[in-house]
Chain length 253, copies 2
């Protein structure tokens, strides 16, 4: 079982779009996959057309040592894909968790009780350095970092790497960066090409071969509560996430 | 003096790009403007090519009742435009401020000591509901909400409006939404037009006439540490921010 946090404190870089479409791709490839939405925006939850109760799902896992983590798991209409939904009520837990001595490890503790049936667990994070991304980094074996091919996205990467190192040296020594994913790439724009080259230069061994192009069908699919592969399977965006799925599976073995 | 928080918990919708280019536009129009960067990413600070010390700037304002707020103000190379820089060290203040009884009002308290020379104060916020946006909402008279013309951006608006109402009924009764700004609009894409129509339908009196188009020169200008009006004054993006500046000034009177 591989637990992967999908995180970057920079906003709007494609974390949720990657979480939804990679989870769906893995499920389609026959891998049992659980998606955990630890973002108070709960976009991964609505992007899969799942409705969530305020104080259930991830809220219940983080609020008390919910002994029945499996009660919080919802099956989606896709075989092999389950979800622990996010909820806007998470905002109410932020200072409660930050003030507890092991608040950063609450998710890790809950997942210990998970049935051993999953091949992959993906965790979609909010755009911050706060207690929710720290819970994801504490529980995960590895991290996938989506980076938009634009300037501000590059700037924040060194902060993110420093945060991952900090978690690695404190609560989760096994944590590593599984891969860096270039997103919203537009090969007609020189600037986009330049940023992509710079990211590859900085992290030669970590950048996935697969690059996600800017493709409106990825944005539209979320509004229909469907993964891109369901909404518009031949779109460039959907095909890129199929390629990414293959690459992630290939790297596992 | 008008204190405006530029905020939306959804990531990557153009908060920082709006803060930089509106502040610059107001300064060019002869208004004395102070930009405050309360985001630990400190993108507004680097987007104006300002370097900041870890424990100075906004950190010092929020850490203790810095009696000398004017010591934290840096003049930019643009006449009429000053900045209180952001810093990644802000992350260290998050739980400290959240646990203090009036942690949400720390910024408001510091700004009381500000010299009365500014016409506008703009506050660039991080993408969250946490203690830093709450400080901005506590200190501000009004809010500008950038909304990207895409699905997830629409979803979060009702949460944001609820947060603003909460602040209004607790710490800042005068707070109101000054305007909603449509950003990254691409009129070639039907989906973009549809979201724009929906936002206008929901908030008929609040949406600015000015719509900011998707324009790569806005992304490029940040990487050169310049406002778009300096980097590429004839670009559609720069001209749209000039229009927005006119509209904001017109609404003031
Ligand atoms: N490759 C792409 N091409 C075009 N649009 C995209 C692409 N990937 C994501 N989007 C759209 O861009 C916006 C930001 O993407 P997304 O919400 O996945 O980012 P995020 O990093 O999860 O944001 P946040 O920081 O708020 O959690 C969304 O409206 C999404 O639909
Ligand atoms: N109108 C536009 N056209 C094209 N690119 C844009 C536009 N506005 C902003 N950008 C680019 O999109 C990215 C997101 O914009 P920006 O950083 O201003 O958003 P933000 O809301 O401040 O993000 P965060 O939530 O991380 O603070 C940046 O790389 C920026 O340069
Ligand atoms: Mg997201
Ligand atoms: Mg920003």
């Amino acid at each position: 079982m591989s637990i992967i946090a999908i995180t970057n404190q920079k906003g709007g870089v494609g974390k949720t779009t990657t979480a939804i479409n990679l989870a769906y791709g893995l499920a389609l490839a026959g891998k049992k996959c659980l998606l955990i939405d630890i973002d108070p925006q709960a976009n991964a939850t609505s992007g899969l057309n799942i409705s969530s109760d305020h104080y259930k799902g991830i809220y219940s896992l983080l609020y008390s040592n919910a002994s029945f983590v499996s009660e919080e798991i919802i099956q989606t209409t896709t075989e092999n894909l389950d979800i622990i939904p996010g909820t806007t009520a998470l905002v109410e837990l932020e200072s409660y968790l930050s003030s507890r001595p092991e608040g950063q490890l609450q998710l890790k503790k809950s997942l210990v009780l998970l049935p051993p049936k999953y091949d992959f667990i993906l965790i979609d994070c909010p755009p911050s350095f706060g207690i929710f991304p720290l819970n994801a980094l504490g529980a995960a074996d590895s991290v996938i970092v989506p980076i938009q091919c634009e300037y501000f996205a590059m700037e924040g990467v060194s902060q993110l790497v420093a945060t991952i190192e900090r978690v690695k040296s404190s609560t989760n020594p096994a944590l590593l960066i599984k891969g860096i994913l270039l997103t919203m790439f537009d090969d007609r724009i020189q600037f986009s090409r330049e940023v992509a080259e710079e990211v590859k230069h900085h992290f030669p061994d970590l950048v996935y071969q697969t690059i996600i192009p800017r493709d409106v069908s990825l944005a539209e699919s979320s509004s229909f509560g469907q993964p891109a592969l369901v909404y518009d399977p031949v779109s460039r965006g959907a095909r890129a996430y199929v390629e990414l799925t293959r690459e992630v599976i290939k790297n596992e073995t």
